[in-house]
Amino acid sequence: MSSDKIVRVANAQGFWGDSLLGPLRLVEEGPVDYLTFDYLAEITMSIMQKQKMRDPNAGYARDFVSMLSMILPTCKAKGIKVIANAGGVNPRGCLEAIEGVIREAGLSGFKVAIVEGDDIFDRIDELVGSGETFANLDTGEALSTVRDRVTAANVYIGAKPIVEALEEGADIIVTGRASDPSLVLAPLIYEFGWSMDDYDKMAAGTIMGHILECGAQCTGGNYTGWRDVPDYANIGYPVAEAKADGSFVITKHENTGGLVTVETVTSQLLYELGDPENYLGPDCIADFTSIQVAQDGENRVAVSGIKGRAPTPTYKVSMSYANGYKILGTLCIAGPDAIDKANLLAEMVFKRVARHGVDIPEEDRFLELFGTNVMYKGLVPANDQPHELMMRLGARGEDRKALDVIGTEIVPLITSGPPGITGFAGGRPRATEVVGYWPALIDKEKVSTSILVREV
């Protein structure tokens, strides 16, 4: 293997709902070897679990499959491989759908693989019986406090099964809850023949994945120096050029908008970071204090020097549970005296709801007067006489019907209260389910992953 071999990994999807332009442009506008897609946030698994309960064929990212049909001819022509954690809670359903779109497009010669074993929803009681406590990682609470309300449970698995799928020749690999950076690390292990005990390399690939995982957030998106960023509408998605020694360059394709500098890349390194010396993942512990970052030409940032250590003997588990309901309605209020009027309106709502026989306890009520510094509370001086503000009024609770009564008493405020109330849109608000997030750990020995490869 030549030491100057370069493997190009691009991330086309930062989250479920990211722009379709990411993948469509990345495959056309420049060189890419691997296209990765990050679909799964904590709440996503719970939504998908619900979809699967209603329809056994659902429970994965359907828009991934429809997007795939648009890029597959180009991927085939250019030899681009696709790795996505789009399988949600039903990778097999996703596999069948992918086979369907490949055939419909009149294409053939694809190997499609899925990774299974992350979904432990049906094994929770068995695992508790074998000694796993699943205590809440943040609060220490026992799982028993929410056990009967758990709606999804998935293990953040690592790169190994994805590497196995690549070794089987897979062109498209779909996982369930694989850890986001592992999607990016896996092709590097495969291409460079890295040993999974080489923790500096595992950390390099993991940190490369961390930089890529939010798409355009490392190419100028969400950057506080935004006035320096050219052509936002045409912002390029990130491409990493990896080398066998673990160093890599973050860049973007020619003739795209956005900006790749030490500052835009460092911004993303800092995103959702905890203890920098102990970035825990399934494949290693990465040390963010070892990262060296340097400008390497226009829109190119070189990253090197990354150190890592052996991973912990546990995987992180993401569980979600039904945690009651919430309702939120909005109205716009013009001045003068907008704040006084908003407070009166809020008081009216809860008094009128009480006339319907519904008691919303004080601590469950929510009122936010947008325009009075709700996002920067205490950080900058508030305007005490705003000409306009938005009232965001709602409540939390266990009784869905009771909360829906609040929804009936928001619009009538326009004709029954003080003047200058407007901007009601979107119909009568309804209570929605609150998904609680329950992070926990599981002994790695208790989790076994497997792959399934099919040729289409």
């Binding site: 959702e272 936010e368 920067y376």
Partner: protein
């Protein structure tokens, strides 16, 4: 010495960490990093965010990236999926920190 907002000497990014948030801040020069490391303490950040962050503030140093990372516990009005507040993920805590005013030596400002 000049009183400036951190906007002029640093960049920042924030996101959610469970029921709290993290705020990463990168100084524009190595000298400004030394200044921030010495003066932008966890106590200063906690006091600044006291109406938003109800829990503790922990600070981590990343001299290699000219950066500090602050963990703001209990700063989202409940968990990310449960809270009703507008900024449920703490996305604006980073830009918010850049509004903080500090007295910075003139020599450091000219290089920024």
């Amino acid at each position: 010495m000049a009183r400036v907002q951190l906007f002029s000497i640093a960049i920042a990014r924030s996101g959610d960490k469970g029921a709290g948030s993290n705020v990463g801040i990168m100084a524009k020069t190595p000298e400004l990093y030394e200044f921030l490391a010495a003066n932008l303490t966890a106590d200063v950040v906690k006091d600044y965010f006291k109406e938003i962050c109800l829990g503790e503030v922990t600070r981590y140093e990343l001299p290699n990236l000219q950066s500090l990372n602050f963990i703001l516990e209990d700063s989202l009005g409940g968990g990310g999926t449960e809270t009703l507040i507008t900024d449920a993920q703490g996305k604006v805590h980073g830009p918010g920190l850049l509004h903080l005013e500090m007295d910075v030596p003139d020599a450091l400002l000219s290089a920024a």
